[in-house]
Amino acid sequence: MEIPYTVSARRDTGLWNAKVGIWLFLASEVMLFGGLFSAYIFLRLDAAPGDWPHGLLNVPVGTMNTAILIASSVTVVLAWAALKMRDLTKYRIYMAITILCGVTFLVVKLAYEWPQKFDHFGAFIKEGALEKYEPYLGNKHLLEEGLPPRKEITGHLHNKEALKDPNVKEYEIALDPVYADPTNRKMDRPHFWPVPATDKIATIEKSDVKYATMFLPKHSSYFASYFTITGLHGAHVLGGVLVFCYMLLPASTRIYRHNPEHLANRVEVAGLFWHFVDLVWIFVFPLFYLL
């Protein structure tokens, strides 16, 4: 006996096997990202005012990446439609564009966004020393406006050896624009286009610092959740890209020659997974980049 309903639908459910399978898998993925999002929610709600950073991520790049992913969702639907209309060449073209978009997304994230973060430095100032660094933090001005205080000074670390060497007693930071001009009202909220960097350098004593590190997962709950969620999301993007590549290989063409509906179903199922990945990103983007 052969396994039925691999391509044609079963009458009472109206579905073929892989479609049921992929939706079940997506249900479990909803729960997986739900677990991660619940962690994000509670870490954020638990953070004291001012402890959750804003404006540390590059919004234009993030917007572009969002657009790329949305475009790839469009092209994968077009690829599937081409298959249903038995146009193999068009299918190949659209699938290739989809893969290209996916790869671009990953490259932008892993080769540009993440390394940019790893290269950035932040030092959390101890409560008692906040007054001392007021020229950089501008908290008096913020308190007048009813905004949460700043507790961290960020920028590019000039003396990287300070991280490891206990004999070096201070950090030299090329300040981020907001700390160079903290009382400027324009600096109160994040900007869309990144503000050009200044040359202002600040020296911060290690003894005034509660905790200092590059923008790594261990920097704060914010970056921990950012890197974990985008990392896991990126792994899913990579998985999707690999599956799509397989759908362009000769093995898949052979399936097409034999039974084109079978390949169309496989592409549809992979496409569903891809749309889900896009869907997750639609939520990740505002939660981390914008809010």
Binding site: L15, A27, M31, G34, F37, H275, L279, L290
Partner: protein, 84 residues
Amino acid sequence: MVGATLLAFTAITVALSYVNFGTQKANVAVALLVATFKAGLVAAIFMHLSAEKRLIYRVLIFTGFFVLGLFWLTYLAWYDPIHR
């Protein structure tokens, strides 16, 4: 065409994030509303969910219920500690 709508709404999301709606809660609510709308479009049209069979709906409704349960009940536990 749906794609163009999604791209347009992405731009809207970004633009709206620079508008202050009063409280932080309101900002979050607006952003999530737009995101939900976009996600709804992807689900309904790209994933063909609007034409999907009953069985799939049932699975997803239960999933949605449980994930919202996870969020809501954990939130409830958080904000109802034994000492105030």
